[in-house]
């Protein structure tokens, strides 16, 4: 998937989310206004029918809460309340005041959801069209330009090493890194930065498998590799931070290479996107 496709997909899903956010007050207040209009016109239609707008709005609000990374339990439970108030038979009369109060509450909850629980992920709405998010997408595009001609086999092992490492299957990540380094050693065009990245992942996976502490010496990228890296390295007098950032850079480079040169692994990489984003942004 190219960068343009991703941007278009994000714009499309972004407008869908905006539409859904507007639908919450529109349906809930719309139903109440219709009830007001018909009762003013002397109609005898049961106001319960117009409360359908409140019920629909509650489900839309719950959906908007569901697709956010942080879940708002209050917004998620509004469909239950809408059914209790407006659908389930009860002694409580459904009238215009109740509908207006309910619509106001939903609108307040929507505002609270937007400001306290972050933005909805734009890719979350389009099933099967999930795309890479920034800044990960930008980094993958940068790596595409700076590390051209990656062998598909090595890229596949890169994706596998990333995914296995993310799953905590460190020994399998070591095996994938070994296989990749064998492929890269036989390649016509040497790609030393990738060999280093696989070496770092291999070394740190072994350390994690053995629950070992920070070693005195560990594999690092060279100064010449810095243009390929997602994050700048901390100074040498902070070995813990440097050790961690070295691993993050290696994992992100393998992720980007896998994304760019192994289309068959996109699904695996999208599943690990949150982890990659966490490594990129923190």
């Amino acid at each position: 998937m190219s960068g343009n496709d991703s941007v278009q997909a994000q714009q499309k899903t972004g407008s869908s989310i905006l539409f859904l956010e507007l639908a919450v007050p529109a349906f809930s207040f719309g139903g109440a206004l219709l009830a007001l209009f018909f009762s003013g016109a002397g109609s005898t239609i049961d106001p319960r029918y117009f409360a359908t707008g409140c019920v629909i709005s509650s489900f839309v609000l719950a959906y908007l809460a569901w697709i956010r990374p942080r879940k708002d339990i209050v917004a998620l439970t509004t469909p239950i309340y809408s059914i209790i108030f407006f659908v389930a038979p009860s002694d409580m009369a459904v009238n215009l005041v109740l509908e207006l109060l309910y619509a106001t509450s939903l609108t307040i909850l929507l505002v609270r959801l937007k400001y306290r629980f972050g933005a909805a992920p734009e890719s979350g709405i389009a099933a099967g069209k999930k795309t890479l998010e920034e800044p990960l997408l930008g980094y993958c595009e940068a790596v595409r330009e700076r590390v051209p001609g990656v062998m598909p086999e090595a890229a596949h092992y890169g994706a596998m090493a990333f995914a296995l490492f993310a799953q905590g299957d460190y020994l399998d990540a070591v095996k994938a890194s070994d296989a990749a380094m064998t492929e890269l050693a036989a390649a016509e065009t040497p790609q030393p930065v990738l060999v280093t990245a696989f070496g770092i992942v291999r070394e740190q996976a072994l350390l994690l498998e053995e629950s070992a502490a920070l070693p005195d010496h560990f594999t690092e990228f060279s100064a010449a590799d810095s243009s390929f890296l997602a994050k700048s390295l901390p100074p040498e007098d902070k070995p813990h931070d440097r050790f961690e950032v070295t691993l993050e850079n290696a994992l992100l480079l393998l992720y980007a290479v896998g994304w760019n040169a192994s289309a068959g692994d996109h699904k695996i990489l999208l599943n690990g996107q949150n982890f990659a984003l966490k490594l990129t942004t923190s």
Binding site: R70, K71, A166, Q167, G168, S211, E244, N274, F275
Partner: protein
């Protein structure tokens, strides 16, 4: 209170409920002869309010005690930042500083444990062996789960939390 090798802890809520209904029953029995005639089953019921939480705490703590050696063998020491959704179900060991403690009085404590790389919620569904406080340096053994079982960010379902050294 120790039952066998298990140190059972009753939550303050259970004790408060027991205390409330004890006082309630005493007052009711003083003023109502009808209540006095039913004390033969009311008093055992009252004690059940204490016995049931004790029994539940004993069962959960003894089960966690059985699980701990297995986790000690299987869990890998990881940095908090490396814990992610793909690790759901994996046993992990985390070392860090306790930044926040919630719900300890309910015997369902939740800790926020941080290391150099980040912070993570640690949920425990029984009382810990030790009294864990903010700024304690701890070792956590547990399984990575989602915060709301099927959704939410990864958190640790804690099997064991113990102090590594006093801060």
């Amino acid at each position: 209170m120790k039952i066998g090798n298990v140190d059972v802890k009753v939550s303050i809520i259970s004790i408060a409920v027991f205390g409330f209904f004890t006082i309630f029953l005493i007052i009711a029995s003083v003023f109502s002869p009808e209540v006095r005639t039913n004390l033969i089953w009311m008093i055992p019921c009252l004690f059940m309010l204490l016995v049931i939480p004790v029994a539940l705490n004993y069962m959960s703590r003894s089960e966690y005690a059985d699980l701990t050696p297995r986790y000690e063998v299987e869990a890998k020491t990881v940095r908090v930042k490396l814990i992610n959704e793909s690790m759901i179900g994996k046993p992990v060991r985390v070392e860090g500083v306790v930044e926040r403690v919630h719900f300890q009085f309910l015997n369902r404590p939740q800790f926020l444990v941080a290391d150099r790389s980040g912070a993570i919620s640690v949920k425990m569904f029984t009382s810990p062996d030790e009294d864990i406080r903010v700024n304690d340096v701890v070792e956590v053994l547990g399984q990575v789960i989602r915060r709301y079982i099927v959704t939410g960010d990864p958190v640790i379902n804690c099997v064991s939390i113990r102090k590594v050294k006093k801060s």
